[in-house]
Structure formats: structure tokens, C-alpha cells
Symmetry: C2
Subunit: 478 residues, 2 copies
């Protein structure tokens, strides 16, 4: 968990904000949003909105009235209450990369497995930099598709005592993850959100049936719902940042309004995931100036609406390996997420290949990035003592400060110390094997996995979880 | 050349600025600055300052009165007047890495030669991203030490028609570079600064004799002088960012005041190069949060003083190779330089190993970084047309924008297009050789060098340059 103590970077003027505000109002009211689920449409019509086939035309004032029911910030409950985290206002949480079907470890790139999934959960549990393992640190492709969510949720609950994500790929999966969380959280389940979940929009301007099933199921029990339009300009949005911002606002607010109809006060997060398409190849582009600028603007819009905000990235990149491109693209996107004041940073660490792959070594690199950027965002405290006049008086002209009293009192903690980055000179670095950042990172991953300790789960609870998983797996036919 | 059109990031409050202001005043007046050159001391004493051995105690009001004589911005003249550039106010120029004794190209790391020097000048000449080759893109170690400056200045004047740096390693070198520039610029030499040069401080609080010789020689003819304290906190400065900022201001202003005494109105740049020492090893550290925060603060201080400002970095890193560490450290430092509003960005591209090495492939990576960050710093124009409502009306719910009229009209130019970064998918990238960013960059370097064309220099002028170099080389005994 992290608290912003210095100003945000805000690229939009008041006038620009007003143009954008008129823009989303026009989209929801004139073109409307398609909801591919009868219950969703029923709720919206019952609340006075106009339906035409799948499409619901929304009154912007109705949308804002619903949005006003959402909390500005909320606490995500963790299995270990000491690991509860606050999302919203000036507080931020960080999650590793989510959703990658592939993993890269060293030179190998292959389909993710439940073992990889488990290792990534272990790393997220171990690192103080990460507040939640999320729900899908990689796809466990070796598990049967119909019951995979059971493996995922039970693994998350067993290997981590931080807040976790509930399943969202279908209503059935969502309900199972909710049932498992109920077992583990017991009476605490009713006291606050014990799951968070991401509901993606089928952009442009459409929610599909499975996502709506998940939204309805999670909203009913008060899970925190991160409503996220995933917009690649040129593909799911026009090739214009303002147009994409307006679309993102329209889509996110429509989903948030629906969640509030299901359960007024349901914790929600306005999600953003805004980047562009490489218009030569049609491939997704990440780490460029458009997505960074989009992040800065998105944060400002969410604050104006009084909503917690999730940034789309994270250390995003299109690079396939943890190389220089991956390093700088990730740093540029992460800088924007932090300067924009993201309350929830998804894909903090590990992202490669436009999200198709989670890289273990990239994860290490990204932890260095986020630590650096968090330190850089701290206030610079300036007072008489900080000027260290006595050190100058001791060292005087042309001397050095290595042995100064002021230095000796502070040298252990005075500077940020990187995890994996090297300051070795060429001779020593060569002697030690001439390893680049990715090669050095492999040893850090091994060390993390060796250091991990499984957080204790009450035996009876663990048995009940196993029993539920076994029964449901059978019922689902796997 | 680049113009800042969006706000700077400014971490210092008015109160902090005042504490820092009192700090530098105290340093220059109570401890003073050592000047290892009789003429420098003579000038300062003649202007009423108090001398004690090498040390001159400076009246802060005297210093500020001298600083007020310096222009807020000025034009650096280029051999080709179309390549003149403005330094100061909201305008920025970019230079490649300077001063590296070693070069890295592909897997090879070796001592730089005049051939490498020439290739780096050619690249700086070719790229619109770079406004000057500087003066020392790498050390030409294969040339004799005493006359090396002749090789350097004559090569710069021959291979580039952009503004160039004059020599500063000694008074003799400075005078030779001035004489060569006079030959090439002819009558234009008297009309404005035809050379710029960096004068480093022997921090803490001391100017050595050779640097002062160069400062006096260049100031006498009105070269633009970039007065740069090079501060590694823990070594040449206390382990405190505010203390280093105060020291940097004291040192820079003392040198700038001296330059103004030599020639009132002499164009100067307040230089900064502020980073920290790795306190475990004593090695220099670059790319961390302290140096980035120092940059943001330094820019703010220079603007308050009304001086053009040079940022120390650039795409700095301690990494030895163009890997993920080099990528993100460079991006973080460059982000800070641009957000701080640097008027002169030194070490824009190529920096490795804390500046000991200039990497050709790193240079390519850094050009992608600076292009991305410059694009990111552009204003986000928001108006009704930018919302592209007609595109939404055309595509509607769940469609895609690839074929929308709005997209087709704009797809060629709507997004930033990287130079070296890839958006290839895994299959195609593998088929093409599975090259990382550094490997791909090698081909770009080759392409640049093939595309370079030497700018025409009048035959008579070229002959006069050669004649001067030959004569002076003989006189210097090489």
C-alpha cells in the first residue's frame, strides 16, 4: 500500500474536462450502451432508462446519481487482517501482471501452468511491493477449462493471505469464487469486500453476457468491481485520445451505475486500459506516449468523478523479452500511472508481449522500476538541517564527503538501493559473468521462491475448501 | 530544438526555495569558493570580493548582480545558419553522450578512437533529434594527448554543420578551438556564440586551474559556457539532496559570476549533474530516484534565477550493456530532465557504465526514449472534433474502428511510431531471428552511417583549417 504525498500531473484544463464531460453524456444518451443480459437490462429499465433491443440509452443524470452512491475509497479485506488494504483517495495498491496465457522464465517461453500460477502467487505474497496476487497471475493451461476457476481461487486462498481477486469469466465461476471466499472469511465476509474482480467491457459500448453475469454476481455480495474498458485506439476506439477518454468514461460509468443498482454503495473502481494499435500491423502497442498521456488524463477524470481509479499499466511493453525496450516502455507507463495517482496499479510487474506473456525476470526488473518511482514521488524535505552546512564546514574545498561525520551517520539509508540493478565496474562485472539485468534477475526469482513461506490456513477451513472444490469439480464434469 | 508547451513538474515549495536560497548564500559568503587561478582571483578581488589564499568569499548580492547580466536565452550559432538553436526560456536542445573513454558496439567494448568519434559526430549530424554533436562524443584515444583537441575540433567542424562545443581541457586547447572556429565562422564569429563549452567544478567548492583557463578563454570571446558542478552525493557533496542543490547553486553561480566579470552578458548555462554514490561500493549511481528528484528541483531553481539550465542527464544508467536496467534508468532520468524543463539535455543518447562508455546501440534505444517522452510532453488538444462522435455513430456497439472513415483519414500519422521498438508477435519475431532491442539497434546504426552525407565546407576554409591544425600540431610537439 502506498500513499501519494506529492501532486499529480494533470494534463487537462477545466475547459477540456468540460468538453470530455459533454462527450460521455452524449455517447450514453444518444448511442447508448449494449447490455447482453436480460437482468441487466431489466434493472436499468426499472430505473427508468430507455431500452431498444440490447441497447440501453442512459440519462447522464441517472448515471451520475448512481455513481454518487459508490464510495470514494474502501478497504479490501485480506485473509490476514493485517494485510487489508485501502483503495481510493490518495492511496494505491499494486498487483502483478494478470491474464497472460504464456510465461517466460530464462530463455524459455511456454504455456503457463498451475505450477507457474502458484509460483507467481508465492512471489506476490512474499513481496511487500505487491498488495494482492490478483486472480490470474498467469493462465493455468494444464487445468480443465470448466473447473479451472476452482483451482485458481483455492490456490490463491491457500498460498496468499493478501486480498485476492474473484473469478469473472462467467457467472458460475464468479459464484464459486464467492462461495470459496465465504468459507475462508467466515463471518468477516459480510463486513466488507473480501474479493475484488475486473469486469472488462466488450468495447466499443457493449457489455457481453458472461461479464455481466460476473458483474451481477459480485455486485450482489459487495465484491469490489473494477469496471475496465480495454481500449486500443484504432481497434476498439477511435484514433484520438480525447475520443477514447470519452468512450472509456461512458463505458465505465454505465457498468458502475449497473453495479450500484444491484447493490447501492457497492465498492467499485473506475478502470482504464487505454493504448493504441500499431496502425501498420494492427498489433497492440504499449509503452508509447499515447497510453501514458491517456493515463494522466484518466486519473484526472476519475478524481473529478470522485471514483477510485485503476490504471491500465503497469509496466507495459510490446517487447517479447526483458530487454532495453521492455525496460523503458515499462518505466514510461509506470511513471504515468504513478504521476496520474492510480489507486490500483494492475500489471505492476512481469508484463511482456502486450500481456500475452508474464516474465519472471521482467517481474524482477519491474519491481526495481516501481520502487524507484515510488521513492521519486516522495516529498523532498527541505529545512536548515538538510543543508548539512556542518559537513561542508568539515570537508571544505576540493575534499570528499566519504568520511564526513554527516555521511557516516546516514550512509546506510540515505539513498535508494536497487534490487537487481548493478553499479559494478566493468572489470568486476566481467569477472562475475558479464550478466545483463535479465540474467541477474533469474537468481533473484530463485531466491524469492526459496524464501516463501505458506501462510497458515486453519485445517478445518482448508478441508472445507478442498471439499467444495472436489464436489464442484465433479458437478462441472472435470 | 524543442519547445516546452506543457507545465513543468516542480517539487519545491516557495518556502523550500527560500531555505535553499539562504543556503547557497551562506556557502559562498562564509566558506567561499576556491579558485586555482590568479587571474580569476584578481578579477574577483578587483570587483570587491574578499580573498584568503585560493579561497574567495563572495557577497551573494554581488553574485546575483553578475548573474543578472547573463541572458535568459541565447542563440548558438551553427556553421549552417539554418541549424542555429536557441537555448533558454521554454526551448531545449539535445546532445549525445559526452566524454566517454570507451565505446561499445555490439558485443565489443574497447577504447574509443578518432574513427568512433567521427562516427558519433556523423550520427549526431544526421539525426534531427540531436542539435549538436557536442565536443567529445567519445575520447579519441588513438590521437596524441597534447594535440588531440585539434583532431576533435577540426573533425567536428568538418563532419557537422550544427553548433559544436569548444575544447575546455586547458587554456591552450580552448584557444585552439576558438581559433579554428574563427576560421570557419569568419565574420560571423563576432555576432554570437559560435562555440559552447562545459566547465566542470572540482567539487566541492573549488575550480581548478585548467578549467579556469578554459572558462577565461571562452568567456573572453563570448562562447556559451555551461558551468557544471558534477556532484555525486556521498563523494563530492553531502548525502542530502537539499545540501547538494545548495552546493550546486553556489558553485555554478560563482563560475557564472566570474564569466560575467570577464565579459558582461556572456551567454552562460547553469549546469547540473547531481547523482549519488552507491554507499556500499563507492561507485557512482545513476538512474535512481535521487538524481531524478534532483533534476526536477534543479530546473526550478535555475528558472527562479532566470538562467538557462542544463540537466545532468540524459539517459543515464550504471548498466554496462543496453539491457532492461539501461532502458528503465535512462527513461527515468530523461523523464525528469524533460519534466524539469531542461534547456540543454546533455547525454541524451548513448550513455552506459556511468558515462565511462558510449554505446552505439544504447544510442538508438535512447533516441526512441527521447522521442516518446517529447511526444508525451505535447499538449493534449481537446475539442468537439477530437471526440470523433461520427466514428462512434458509424461503428456502434461491439464493432471495430479499423475501417472507420475517421481512422482511414488519420491512420498514417495518428500515433507515435518508434524507431527500434518492436510490436511483432512472437511467431514473426522468432522467424526474424528473435533479436532483442540491442541486436535490432545494430542494423539501425549501420543504416545511419550509410545515410550520412558530409556537409560541404568551402575548400579554402577547409585548407585553412588543415594548415592551422598541421602548424599547431607541430608546435605542440606531436
Amino acid at each position: 500500500m502506498y500513499r501519494y504525498r506529492t501532486p499529480y500531473v494533470e494534463p487537462l484544463s477545466e475547459e477540456s474536462l468540460e468538453v470530455l464531460d459533454r462527450g460521455w453524456r452524449r455517447l450514453v444518451s444518444e448511442l447508448g450502451i449494449a447490455f447482453d443480459h436480460p437482468e441487466a437490462r431489466r434493472l436499468l429499465v426499472a430505473a427508468g432508462q430507455e431500452v431498444d433491443g440490447e441497447v440501453v440509452r442512459l440519462d447522464p443524470e441517472f448515471v451520475l446519481a448512481q455513481v454518487a452512491n459508490a464510495p470514494r475509497s474502501f478497504t479490501l479485506l485480506a485473509r490476514n487482517p493485517a494485510r487489508n488494504v485501502v483503495v481510493g483517495d490518495d492511496q494505491a495498491i499494486f498487483l502483478p501482471t494478470q491474464g497472460a496465457p504464456f510465461v517466460r522464465r530464462g530463455a524459455e517461453r511456454r504455456e503457463g501452468t498451475l505450477a507457474d500460477f502458484s509460483d507467481l502467487v508465492r512471489i506476490a505474497q512474499l513481496l511487500d511491493d505487491l498488495d494482492s496476487p490478483g486472480g490470474l497471475p498467469c493462465e493455468p493451461n494444464d487445468r480443465p477449462l470448466d473447473s479451472r476457476h476452482l483451482d485458481m481461487t483455492s490456490t490463491l486462498l491457500r498460498l496468499s493471505d493478501k486480498p485476492i481477486m474473484g473469478a469473472q469469466i462467467s457467472g458460475v465461476a464468479a459464484e464459486d469464487s464467492i462461495a470459496l471466499a465465504r468459507i475462508v472469511f467466515g463471518g468477516r465476509f459480510e463486513t466488507g469486500p473480501c474479493l475484488h474482480t475486473v469486469v472488462n467491457v466488450n468495447s466499443p459500448l457493449r457489455y457481453d453476457g458472461r461479464m455481466l453475469e460476473a458483474l451481477l454476481a459480485h455486485a450482489a455480495v459487495g465484491s469490489a468491481i473494477v469496471v475496465t474498458p480495454f481500449l486500443l485506439m484504432g481497434a476498439m476506439a477511435p484514433v484520438s485520445i480525447p475520443a477514447a477518454l470519452v468512450q472509456q468514461t461512458a463505458e465505465a460509468l454505465a457498468g458502475i451505475a449497473l453495479a450500484q443498482l444491484v447493490r447501492p454503495g457497492c465498492p467499485v473502481v473506475m478502470g482504464s486500459f487505454l493504448s493504441n494499435t500499431d496502425m501498420q500491423s494492427g498489433a497492440p502497442g504499449f509503452g508509447g506516449p499515447e497510453s501514458a498521456l491517456g493515463l494522466l488524463a484518466s486519473g484526472q477524470i476519475a478524481r473529478r468523478l470522485g471514483l477510485p481509479w485503476r490504471s491500465g499499466g503497469g509496466a507495459l511493453t510490446t517487447s517479447l523479452v526483458p530487454d532495453a525496450q521492455a525496460g523503458f516502455e515499462g518505466a514510461i507507463t509506470m511513471t504515468a500511472a504513478l504521476q496520474a495517482g492510480a489507486n490500483m496499479v494492475m500489471h505492476t510487474a512481469g508484463w511482456l508481449e502486450g500481456g500475452l506473456t508474464v516474465g519472471f525476470e521482467k517481474l524482477v526488473v519491474d519491481i526495481d522500476v516501481v520502487r524507484t518511482l515510488r521513492a521519486l514521488r516522495e516529498p523532498l524535505e527541505v529545512d536548515e538541517a538538510s543543508l548539512a552546512f556542518e559537513a561542508h564546514d568539515e570537508v571544505r574545498h576540493g575534499g570528499h564527503f566519504f568520511g564526513a561525520a554527516h555521511t557516516l551517520e546516514r550512509f546506510r539509508t540515505c539513498f535508494h538501493r536497487p534490487l537487481n540493478s548493478t553499479t559494478r565496474n566493468f572489470e568486476r562485472w566481467t569477472r562475475e559473468g558479464a550478466q545483463d539485468a535479465a540474467a541477474r534477475a533469474s537468481a533473484i526469482v530463485d531466491g524469492w521462491l526459496a524464501a516463501y513461506e505458506e501462510p497458515r490456513l486453519d485445517d478445518a477451513v482448508a478441508a472445507e475448501v478442498d471439499e467444495y472444490v472436489t464436489r464442484r469439480r465433479r458437478e462441472l464434469g472435470d
